[in-house]
């Protein structure tokens, strides 16, 4: 008997996204446009699932990627740290029109909540946000003389992220500051879908330097581009 080698490589974006349903919570990697999985987001728009909750650091830039997804009307709610930017006009309009719900989370709490979900932590006390509008109604505690706010894990049905290289088991490396939220989001989603500009043979990534071990990755899609 000869088995089939396990491979997480999917032939197309559409195949990788096919099972996403209305109402899903989806984490999308990237900080601004660095690390933003634009082709996966385009695929999500084509796919057409509605009533989505999106977790990202921002709320879209310009007229592409996440901004376009918001424009599509498929996003019910966005959880982010920094929606307002010079080129966040699509979000701004949608929000002011009352067509999208916004939960603003301090950036470090956002990252830590995602990490907590991936690491099986039920909740944690963070000093960030204590005494501010963003901690209103939340449990607080003074520990060793310092004031903390209780924050809960943030998990998702899917994470869509962009990496620099992947192998067939989904081991990933990133490139420079495009790494940002990718590694923690990959741990916090039931299904993690990754786009990469190149796939390498198993064994070509140095085990000392794999940033996201394949255990956190479910699907890999190759998006070839000229300049990468």
């Amino acid at each position: 008997m000869r088995g089939v080698m396990v491979s997480k490589i999917f032939d197309s974006v559409d195949a990788a996204l096919a099972d996403i349903r209305d109402g899903a919570t989806i984490m999308i990697g990237g900080f601004g446009t660095a690390g933003q999985p634009v082709e996966l987001i385009d695929g999500l728009i084509r796919h057409g699932a509605r009533d989505l909750t999106i977790v990202n650091n921002n709320a879209g830039n310009g007229e592409v990627g996440l901004a376009l997804l918001i424009k599509s009307g498929f996003v019910r709610k966005i959880i982010c740290s920094f929606p307002r930017q010079t080129d966040s006009q699509i979000f701004d309009e949608t929000y002011r029109a009352g067509k999208i719900e916004l939960e603003v989370v301090p950036q470090g709490n956002l990252a830590e909540r995602i990490r907590a979900a991936g690491a099986g932590i039920g909740g944690f006390f963070t000093p960030t946000g204590y005494g501010t509008l963003l901690a209103e109604g939340k449990e607080t505690r003074t520990i060793d003389g310092r004031d903390y706010v209780f924050e809960s894990p943030l998990r998702a049905d899917y994470a869509l992220i962009k990496a620099h290289r992947a192998d067939r088991l989904g081991n990933l490396v990133y490139r420079k500051t495009a790494r940002n939220f990718g590694p923690v989001m990959a741990t916090a989603a039931a299904t993690t879908i990754v786009q990469v500009p190149a796939i390498v043979e198993l064994g070509q990534l140095d085990p000392e330097n794999v940033i996201t071990p394949g255990i956190f990755v479910n699907r890999v899609v190759l998006i070839e581009k000229e300049a990468e």
Partner: protein
């Protein structure tokens, strides 16, 4: 599947190995569970996790392969499989606690009918307590398989109504492999016998354990 005789330890390990789905991420506990790796086939593409910071653990190292910096959780020199990755302890236990491992295979002193596990401490006076990663493994994996003899050397069943040994984790064990039978544990429907090895019957097991076992062997 039945066999004519109870399973040897090697056969138990072989049986567990055969039940692991291709591509699974698996942690094999110290002791008997470690031997499961001897029966995993290349075609299964099973990826072994060792909680001291390696995913993609290869077979035990011998001779020139031995490297003091490359050991498993039992502190035995091992090798690195192709496609491996290293990470630090907090990441490694986050991987476990976060429910990313498909299966942990552990030894046990006792397992209760609700899946409670005792495997870290005999509770004897004077014993030095040492837990290592046992409690983390118990609560972390999606499925916890226990490998144990069904009875102690004195003939006492180790599958019990309620633990008498100190708890490692509550409600965590999903399946128990013994030399005479495989038991599935479901927190709502209870314990069912899914396979028998040797002449033992489900009724024999009910008598031995004094537990309400469901016969799921397909022959009951």
């Amino acid at each position: 599947m039945s066999t004519a005789a109870p399973l040897s330890r090697a056969e138990m390990a072989q049986r567990v190995a055969a039940d692991i789905p291709p591509g699974s991420y698996v942690n094999l506990g110290i002791g008997i569970p470690t031997s499961v790796s001897n029966y995993l086939t290349a075609e299964q593409d099973v990826i072994l996790h060792t909680e001291n910071g390696l995913l993609g653990m290869g077979p035990e190292a011998h001779g020139d392969e031995i490297d003091d910096d490359l050991i498993n959780a039992g502190k035995i020199p091992v090798t690195e499989a192709i496609g491996a990755s290293y990470f630090h302890h907090a990441d490694s236990f986050g991987m476990m606690r976060g429910g990313h491992l498909d299966i942990a295979v552990l030894g046990a002193f006792q397992v209760s009918i609700t899946g409670d596990l005792a495997n870290w401490h005999t509770g004897e006076p004077g014993a030095i307590p040492a837990v290592g990663g046992a409690m983390d493994l118990a609560v972390g994996a999606k499925n916890v398989f226990v490998m144990m003899e069904l009875t102690t050397k004195k003939g006492q069943p180790k599958l019990v109504e309620a633990l008498t040994y100190p708890v490692t984790g509550l409600g965590c064990v999903t399946r128990v492999y013994t030399e005479v039978a495989v038991f599935d544990i479901d927190r709502t429907t209870g314990v069912s016998v899914t396979e028998l090895f040797g002449p033992t019957t489900v009724d024999d097991l009910r008598t031995l354990t004094n537990l309400p076992l469901t016969d799921a062997t397909g022959k009951g």
